[in-house]
Assembly symmetry: C2
Homo-oligomer: 130 residues x 2
DNA sequence: CCTAAAGTCTGTAGTCGCTACAGGGTCAAG
DNA sequence: CTTGACCCTGTAGCGACTACAGACTTTAGG
C-alpha cells in the first residue's frame, strides 16, 4: 500500500502520516526501490489506533504510551487505565472551563441591546475585571 | 510603571506582555533613558482587557478587533456583538465535542475491569473504529 | 563605594499537532 | 512520449506563548 491509499483508508492526511513517522510515533515503513513508502495492514491498524486516540483527545505522547502498552504482551492494563483516567479528568476540567466561558458569554451577549458603544455590555465586561 | 509591576498587577507574564507588544496587540510603551519600558495606567487597562478576553477564550485576533472597536468613538456595537456571538457558537461546538469525548472515555474506562491486557476494553476501543 | 542580587533588555529557539509549500523524482494512462 | 497524478525531502508557518543566552541596569546591604 502506498501512502495515498493509507491516507484514503484512514482519513489521515499524507503529511500527517509522514509527520507521525518523523516524530517516531509510527515506525518507518519499508520502501520500494525508488524510495516510495510501502505500508502493511498492521501499519494501517496502528495509524487508525492513533487517529482514534486523537479523536478522543489524547495527546500524541499519551497515544505513544498506549501504543507501546497495546503491543506488549500479557501486561496488566493498569497503566492504560491510569492514562485514560488522567485524560478523562483533563477533559472534564476543560468542559467545566468552557461551560463557564459559555455562560459568561451568554450573559454578556444578552446584556447587549445593540446601539451605541458606550452602552455595550460586552466591552464593559471585558474592561472590568470579572 | 515597569514591566515587572505591570506583570504583577495583571497576572500576565513579562514575556507574554513583550510578546503582545511584538505582535502589535499592545502598542509599544515609552522607554526610560536606559531603555526600560515605562507603562501608564491605560496600558495596564488595555492589558487587562486582553487577559480578560483570553480568559473568555477569544483569540488574540478577536481581541485585537475588540480593542479597536472599544477605542473608537461612538460606533455601534453590532460588530462587537457579532464577534462575541461567533465566538460563543465556537465555544458551544467545543463543549459538545468535549462532552462526546468525555462520555466515550467514561464508557470505555468503566468497561475496563483491570487485569490482563487482552481484556482491556480501552485498548479495544482504540483498536476498533468507533 | 562596592558588590551581589534582582530586574530588564534583545534575539532566538522551543512547544504541540499539524499544514503548506518548493523543488525535485516516479509512475500510469492515452 | 507526454501529461498529469503521485511521491520524495526539507523547511517554514500557524497560535499563543515559554524559555533560554548573554548583556545591561537598578537596588539594597555592608
Amino acid at each position: 500500500m502506498k501512502i495515498g491509499q493509507v491516507s484514503a483508508a484512514s482519513g489521515c492526511q499524507i503529511e500527517t502520516i509522514r509527520y507521525y513517522e518523523r516524530i517516531g510515533l509510527l515506525r518507518a515503513p519499508s520502501r520500494t526501490e525508488t524510495g516510495y513508502r510501502h505500508y502493511t495492514c498492521e501499519d494501517v491498524d496502528r495509524l487508525r489506533f492513533v487517529t482514534r486516540g486523537r479523536a478522543l483527545g489524547f495527546s500524541l505522547e499519551e497515544i505513544a504510551s498506549l501504543l507501546r502498552l497495546a503491543e506488549e504482551d500479557g501486561l496488566a492494563c493498569d497503566d492504560v487505565d491510569r492514562i485514560a483516567r488522567a485524560h478523562l479528568a483533563d477533559v472534564e476540567r476543560r468542559v467545566v472551563d468552557l461551560q463557564r466561558i459559555q455562560a459568561e458569554l451568554e450573559r454578556t451577549i444578552t446584556g447587549c441591546k445593540g446601539g451605541e458603544r458606550a452602552q455595550c455590555s460586552i466591552l464593559g465586561a471585558l474592561r472590568d475585571a470579572g
